[in-house]
C-alpha cells in the first residue's frame, strides 16, 4: 500500500481547489490534490457549459499565481454593465471609466478556466501530487494529522484537509457540518450564442418577473446566456426543438446584437442558496461552494471562492514559514473569521437582489425603478456598488492585491 505525504490535502481540483493548490505550491508547500473526474473529460464541451465572471481583485490573484496568462486569450473584458427592469425605460449603466480601471472584470468560459488550472497544476508537478481520477473512501482526522484513504487502497497523509468538493461536499457532510439552504424555485438555463453584431464589451442584466436574464460577453462575437426561469417551466423549454427554443430565447434576448446562432448544448442548473454553519472543523477547512453557494445574479460565485483561496493560502504560507502546525486550530479560526462575514454579506446582497427583482408587483417595481434611477444619478453610490462588484474593498489578502506570498 503506497503512502503519500504532503503539507496540505486538497479535495476537489475544480475552479477553486485547483487555484488553491497552485497558490500553495508556488509558495513552497507540498499539496496532494484529489479529484474524482478524469482531468481531460472536464474540458469536453458537454461537461460544463457555464462561464464565470472573474472580478478585478480575483484576477490579480490569478495573475500572481501564474494562471492568468493561460486564461487571458479566452477572457472577455466587461467594460459596460447595463441593468434594466422588465419593460421599464429606466436602466442603470455602469461604465468602467467611472472607476478608472480598464474593465470591471472578465467573463471566461469554465472550460477555459479548467484548462488553465490543469496547466498550472502540471507546471507545479514537483509540489502537487495530482491524484485524478481518484475517489476518497475515508478521511481520518487524527490528533496530529489527516489520512485520506482512496478506493484503490492508496493513502495520503497531511496536516490539513481542505474541502473544495462543491455544493454537495461529501467531505463537509461526513464531518457533520450542517448547511442552511433554501431553493429559489428558479432554474438557470445556460447556453452560448454567436451574434452578427459585436457586443461592445457590455454585459446585460435584464430583470424579468421569472428571474434575471443575463447576456455576458465572451471572446469574439459570442455571448453566454444565463436565463433564469421558474423551475417548473424549464423541462418543457429544454424539451423544445432547436428552432422553437431559439424563438423563446430571442423573445427575451432582443435583436440588438443582430441574428443569433446557438452554439453547443443547452445546460440547466437549479438555483439554491446555502451556507455552511461552520467553515472549519478539526484539521479541516471548507472553501468555495463547499462553504457557500449563491444565486448567479451578481456573478460572484467563483469570485467568493477565489477570495477564500487568497485568505487561506496567505494564512497557510505564513504558518509554514513560521514552522507552525498547518492544521492548528488558531489558524483555522482566523480563516473562518476572515471569510464568513464577507461571504454572508455577499449571500445577503445577491439574495436581496433576486427577491427584489423576481416579481411583477407594481409598487415593488416602482420602488426598484426609482432606486435604479437614483443610483444612476449619484456617482459616489454608483462607484461604491461598482467597487464591491470588482472585489476591491475590505481587508484584502495579499494575493487579491496582486502581491505574491
Amino acid at each position: 500500500m503506497t503512502e503519500l505525504t504532503a503539507d496540505v490535502l486538497v479535495i476537489g481540483g475544480g475552479l477553486v481547489g485547483g487555484p488553491l493548490a497552485c497558490a500553495l505550491a508556488q509558495s513552497g508547500l507540498s499539496v496532494a490534490l484529489i479529484d474524482g473526474e478524469v482531468p481531460d473529460a472536464t474540458l469536453a464541451p458537454t461537461f460544463d457549459g457555464r462561464a464565470s465572471a472573474v472580478a478585478l481583485a480575483p484576477q490579480r490573484m490569478l495573475a500572481a499565481i501564474g494562471l492568468w496568462p493561460h486564461i487571458e486569450p479566452w477572457a472577455a473584458p466587461i467594460r459596460h454593465i447595463r441593468v434594466s427592469d422588465g419593460a421599464s425605460p429606466l436602466y442603470l449603466h455602469y461604465d468602467h471609466r467611472e472607476v478608472g480601471e480598464d474593465s470591471f472584470g472578465w467573463i471566461v468560459e469554465n472550460r477555459a478556466l479548467r484548462q488553465a488550472i490543469l496547466k498550472g497544476i502540471a507546471r507545479h508537478g514537483d509540489k502537487i501530487a495530482f491524484l485524478a481520477p481518484a475517489r476518497m473512501t475515508h478521511l481520518a482526522r487524527n490528533p496530529s494529522d489527516v489520512v485520506a484513504t482512496l478506493s484503490d487502497g492508496r493513502t495520503v497523509r497531511a496536516r490539513l484537509a481542505v474541502a473544495a468538493d462543491g455544493r454537495g461536499s461529501p467531505t463537509r457532510e461526513s464531518a457533520g457540518i450542517g448547511v442552511t439552504s433554501w431553493k429559489y424555485g428558479q432554474t438557470a438555463i445556460v447556453c452560448t450564442v454567436a451574434h452578427s453584431l459585436p457586443h461592445g464589451d457590455a454585459a446585460q442584466e435584464h430583470f424579468l418577473p421569472a428571474g434575471p436574464f443575463a447576456i455576458l460577453p465572451l471572446t469574439g462575437q459570442r455571448s453566454s446566456v444565463v436565463w433564469t426561469e421558474k423551475a417548473h417551466l424549464v423541462p418543457a423549454i429544454l424539451a423544445q426543438d432547436e428552432a422553437a427554443f431559439q424563438r423563446e430565447l430571442e423573445s427575451r434576448f432582443g435583436d440588438y446584437l443582430g441574428d443569433l446562432t446557438l452554439e453547443g448544448p443547452r445546460f440547466s442548473y437549479p438555483l439554491t442558496l446555502q451556507f455552511a454553519r461552520s467553515y472549519t472543523a478539526h484539521r479541516l477547512a471548507l472553501i468555495g461552494d463547499a462553504a457557500h453557494g449563491m444565486h448567479p445574479v451578481a456573478g460572484q460565485g467563483m469570485n467568493m471562492g477565489l477570495r477564500d483561496v487568497a485568505a487561506l493560502a496567505e494564512l497557510l504560507v505564513e504558518a509554514k514559514r513560521l514552522g507552525q502546525d498547518l492544521g492548528d486550530a488558531q489558524i483555522l479560526a482566523r480563516y473562518g473569521r476572515w471569510r464568513r462575514f464577507d461571504n454572508l454579506l455577499m449571500l445577503g446582497l445577491t439574495d436581496g437582489l433576486v427577491r427584489l427583482f423576481s416579481n411583477d408587483v407594481a409598487p415593488v417595481k416602482l420602488v426598484r425603478d426609482l432606486g435604479m434611477a437614483a443610483v444612476n444619478r449619484l456617482p459616489p453610490l454608483k462607484r461604491f456598488f461598482m467597487k464591491h462588484a470588482m472585489g476591491t474593498v475590505g481587508e484584502l489578502p495579499k494575493l487579491l492585491r496582486g502581491e505574491t506570498l
Binding site: 513552497g28 496530529s144 513560521l322 514552522g323 507552525q324 502546525d325 486550530a329 488558531q330
Partner: protein, 255 residues
C-alpha cells in the same frame, strides 16, 4: 524556572520508565497545553509574532532565505526553559537542530510526548543551563528571566552555551506601570489567562537592565521590539513599544 507552566511544574526525580497511567496523564497535560483554542490560547497567540521576530532576525543574522524549505538547516539551537515545547517544535520544522531544556521534569515529559506524536525530532532534557555541555549557534530564553533569582548568573550560563558569532534571543516583561496593569491585573486577575501568582512584578526586567546584564555576559544587543494585543481582531502583533512584553536580539562577537 519554567515559564507560565510553573503552576504545574513539579519535579519528579528519577522517572525513567513511565507507567501507562503516567503516559495518560502526560497526554492529558499535552492535550491541554497544545490546544491552541483552550486555556493556553494566549501563549499560542503570542507565539506567532514571536516566531515571526525570531525567524526574521535569525534569517538576517545567518543569511538564510526565509521562503526556503527548512531555511535554518545545519544550525543548532537550545531553548532554555522550553516548557511544553511550543517554540521548539516550529523551530525544528524550520530546520534547526533543537535542544530543549527545562527544570520541570513534567514539562519535559509533556514536550517529549507531543514531539513524538507530531513526528518532530527534538533533544529534550530536564536540566538547567549550567548542566549542559557544548555550544550552540542560537540560545533562546523566552519568558524565563523574570522567574530566576540571580539574573547575572543565569545569563552567564546562557552566554557560555553560545558559540562566538552566534545569536541570543530573549523575551520578558518590562517593569512599567502599564505592565503591572496588563500582565498582573489584566492577565492574571481580569482575563484569567494565567494562574494568579504566575508573575512577580518586582522581578520584571527593564530592557536597559536586560541589555546591561547581557553585556556583562559578553552579548551585544542589536534589536529590541514589543508585542501588543489587538482585542478587535483577537491577534497579537509586533510593535515598536517595549512597554509591556518585549523581545530582544543579541549577538556574541566573534572574538
Amino acid at each position: 524556572m519554567p515559564r507560565t507552566s510553573q503552576a504545574h511544574a513539579q519535579i519528579h526525580a528519577g522517572v525513567t520508565t513511565a507507567s501507562d497511567e503516567e503516559v495518560a496523564r502526560f497526554q492529558a497535560i499535552a492535550d491541554a497545553w497544545w490546544d491552541s483554542t483552550g486555556s493556553f490560547k494566549p501563549l499560542h497567540q503570542i507565539n506567532r509574532p514571536r516566531l515571526e521576530a525570531l525567524a526574521e532576525h535569525l534569517a538576517a543574522h545567518f543569511g538564510r532565505d526565509r521562503t526556503a524549505d527548512r531555511p535554518f538547516e545545519g544550525l543548532t539551537l537550545i531553548d532554555i526553559g522550553c516548557g511544553g515545547g511550543l517554540l521548539c517544535e516550529p523551530l525544528a520544522r524550520l530546520g534547526f537542530q533543537v535542544t530543549g531544556i527545562d527544570a520541570g521534569e513534567r514539562n519535559i515529559q509533556v514536550a517529549k510526548h507531543h514531539a513524538e506524536q507530531m513526528g518532530v525530532t527534538i533533544d529534550y532534557r530536564t536540566a538547567t543551563p549550567e548542566q549542559v555541555e557544548g555550544q550552540f549557534d542560537v540560545v533562546l530564553s523566552m519568558e524565563v528571566i523574570e522567574h530566576v533569582t540571580d539574573v547575572d548568573m543565569f545569563l552567564a550560563a546562557c552566554a557560555a552555551l553560545l558559540k562566538p558569532g552566534g545569536a541570543f534571543c530573549g523575551a520578558t516583561l518590562n517593569r512599567t506601570g502599564k505592565s503591572f496593569a496588563l500582565a498582573i491585573i489584566g492577565a492574571e486577575y481580569v482575563l484569567r489567562w494565567l494562574p494568579r501568582g504566575t508573575h512577580d512584578w518586582k522581578k520584571f526586567v527593564k530592557p536597559s537592565e536586560f541589555t546591561a546584564a547581557l553585556r556583562k555576559a559578553g552579548i551585544v544587543v542589536k534589536a529590541l521590539e514589543g508585542v501588543s494585543y489587538d482585542p478587535w481582531r483577537d491577534l497579537w502583533n509586533r510593535v515598536k513599544s517595549v512597554d509591556v512584553n518585549y523581545f530582544l536580539f543579541g549577538v556574541k562577537p566573534q572574538s
